[in-house]
Symmetry: C2
């Protein structure tokens, strides 16, 4: 059976790369959507079987739009995670491949990519005007279709190659340890690729603390700490009902079916917290881009 | 002596209102800057004495740009906080004051204001195209200078009044409990307004946990919990050195000079955490817009 997998497009984004990596051995049709809400709504409404979106970047932190939509608008579990190294490339139209970088007047890219390469930009072409695009791939497309424009773009190697642009330089991000977390959501379980079987298992929780109970967060963390359950991520997001009212999003490194996790969840509820399991899923870390097939 | 106070402009933004509220009894010159980094840099470089920026909204959560700049780029303490009710108003050019709302084809406003009024927009003019502006005040300015444009703007009452626009409706935000937190930073202490003396005192901390010490956050919260020091806010922000490395930003409701806080901070450091005090300051909550003087 052919699955359809929605992802944050257009083609050639890092989400596209992560989606191919997660599902490359499947008989799948990958369908790009223009925004994160569109991607998540596609699977929520059954238009797609699965969806892949970014959830955290090393420089920008959490992708709040993804988390807020998972909390407030869709009810589809997280079924997998991939932690993927982002290699930003400097792209140029072949007509200008040999020009010195100080000649360029514009740089197109997504705000996150610009933020990841800020020091490099200041070093190599501080004179250039920054033009924000909706995706790194869109910046590459603009470059391709405007050969007279003295512009650069920052994006994936693949975005450059598929548009016949010249990869002027690879790995131009300021920090080499530049990973992004992507999550897959869906109503059905899937088997991920064989070679990715050595993984952690995570459970993502949305915890609402009882109001007027100072120290409730401390009690919640105590239930994990006593059991030596490691928390890889904790953050607060607004409930939107008033300033100072938060959900806590907690990623615990254990399956929700493990006896220790079942005990922790039961106790947190007994403390008066509302607990929603956003998903319990395998997490893959990709350390080498070479492991990307195709 | 005249103080100069930088704020996130242009004139007529909510930050402008909050700045006037905090410093209305001072002999101050208020200077608008176009971006949050510009405001914070002005005081960091000594161009301004003080600066006021938003730090958290009820719907969007933390203003990451403010927090990341306080962590990474400026070294100026927080000296005060005001929690201020945001009343979004529907603004219209007087030429179109009596038109039905379904006639309008565009709505101008800042993305945060649009997010705060999303249900209202869907109800009263779902057909309108949303055009994001850099500030709510900029949207009002566009409306004022284009009388032929069949457009609305969402912004402050004052932004409408000062531009001779019609206030079609007040308090159009989806949640009435719509407060925003603003902080003032500066190298010198100031006396705030007399009538605002009934306040909480807060201390904001940037805590870096020791690496490879599972449960460190739990230990940090324990040092506050045992002393019954209430934490009004806790969040994680990326260190930007790699995925999974975070600073924790913690707001504790006690002065940094209190014996309990001194004990807590000493113990957190002894646990191996790096602790930076971002400021220890009075926090004012404004419940009625009527208390806003001119």
């Amino acid at each position: 059976m052919v699955e359809t997998i929605a992802y944050l497009g257009p083609q050639g984004t890092f989400t596209h790369e992560a989606t191919q990596l997660l599902f490359s051995n499947k008989n799948s049709e990958l369908v790009p959507y223009p925004t994160i809400p569109d991607v998540l709504t596609a699977v929520d409404q059954g238009v797609s079987d699965l969806a892949v979106v970014p959830v955290e970047t090393a420089v920008g932190g959490s992708v709040n739009l993804t988390i807020d939509w998972l909390i407030h608008h869709v009810d589809v579990p997280i079924i997998g995670e991939v932690i993927y190294p982002i290699s930003q490339c400097l792209l140029v139209h072949p007509q200008h491949a040999n020009r010195p970088l100080q000649d360029f007047v514009r740089i197109y890219s997504h705000p996150q990519a610009i933020a990841q390469c800020q020091e490099k930009i200041d070093e190599i072409c501080p004179q250039a005007e920054i033009i924000y695009t909706e995706s790194t791939a869109q910046g590459a497309t603009i470059l391709q279709s405007n050969p007279e424009d003295l512009a650069l773009a920052i994006g994936t190697k693949r975005a450059g190659e598929t548009r016949n642009l010249v990869i002027k330089e690879e790995d131009i991000q300021d920090h080499q340890n530049n990973f992004t977390r992507f999550i897959a959501i869906g109503h059905k379980w899937v088997d991920f690729q064989e070679e990715q079987k050595s993984v952690k298992h995570k459970t993502s929780l949305q915890v609402t603390l009882p109001s007027d109970y100072p120290g409730a967060l401390f009690q919640v963390l105590a239930t994990f700490s006593w059991r030596k359950i490691n928390l890889s991520h904790i953050e607060s997001r607004p409930t939107k009902t008033g300033l100072g009212n938060y959900f806590f999003i907690i990623d615990a490194e254990l399956s929700h079916e493990h006896v220790l996790m079942r005990g922790a969840l039961a106790e947190i509820k007994a403390l008066g917290c509302n607990v929603r399991v956003l998903g319990s899923y395998p997490s893959f870390q990709v350390n080498e881009l070479q492991s990307l097939k195709k």
